[in-house]
């Protein structure tokens, strides 16, 4: 949620920046959210695109350039640190890093309950101030007569309503 809000703010500031400056995309760091040229290929951390459109680091320092040159040779001559450094040049996050969960679900769930509660207050107000009276067939007297009639009629005598009434003792079982 915070990342998406930062993205929105970045897009907004990026829009105004683009309007004021002449050149659109700054290739310095494609993951810079300040200026976002949506017409140029962008880097992304997604499990379903393991090879993004652009490498993470576009402008290489001299040291990084040397590493890239070494990469053109046999890879058995690369040390473990060099291999990791090459990976980090083209990728920002590894798969475990990008897939790791967060505690956002707690916020989401809390927000859901909060708004459910608020809706409950509105519904309660509506019940008190908007709805009219309930039909007369819900009055205590009517319901008593109705229940007695249902018992007399043997409504659902096998497993249901009248099954729960004791006809000898004339009371509920």
């Amino acid at each position: 949620m915070l990342a998406s809000r930062a993205l929105v703010r970045g897009l907004q500031s990026g829009f105004w920046r683009r309007v004021s400056t002449s050149s659109g995309a700054r290739a310095a760091h494609p993951h810079d959210v300040d200026v976002l040229d949506c017409s140029a290929p962008q880097y992304n951390n997604r499990p379903d695109t393991p090879w993004p459109d652009v490498p993470f680091v576009r402008n290489l320092s001299a040291e990084q350039k040397k590493l890239k040159e070494k990469e053109k040779g046999p890879w058995t001559q690369l040390t473990k640190e060099e291999k990791l450094a090459i990976y980090r040049l083209t990728h920002e996050l590894s798969f475990p890093e990008m897939n790791k969960g967060s505690k956002e679900w707690m916020t989401v769930l809390g927000g859901i309950f909060y708004f459910l509660g608020f809706t409950a207050l509105l519904v309660w107000w509506q019940r008190v101030y908007v709805y009219g009276d309930v039909p007369h067939t819900f009055s205590q007297e009517w319901v008593e007569k109705q229940t007695q009639m249902m018992i007399d009629m043997r409504v659902n005598p096998v497993q249901g309503f009248s099954n729960k009434w004791d006809y000898e003792k004339k009371q509920w079982k």
């Binding site: 473990k80 291999k83 007399d152 009629m153 043997r154 096998v158 497993q159 006809y167």
Partner: protein, 76 residues
Amino acid sequence: MSLAKPAMRGLLAKRLRFHLPIAFALSLVAAAAFKYGVTEPRKKAYADFYKEYDAMKEFNAMREAGIFESVRPSGE
């Protein structure tokens, strides 16, 4: 830094080999539970109810309660 090569093939087959017997077993359990938890007690309840059911007795009881319009209670 050399990891074992991950499994590249037969992933669905492996999953099915594990999950299908469980799925079948659980389905059978669910069906058995419904049969012996719901339908057999229900059949027994109906059988017991109608074993000692006297329709005329019930009719007369209902008649005396006054719910019928075609026959009034015997007193009137």
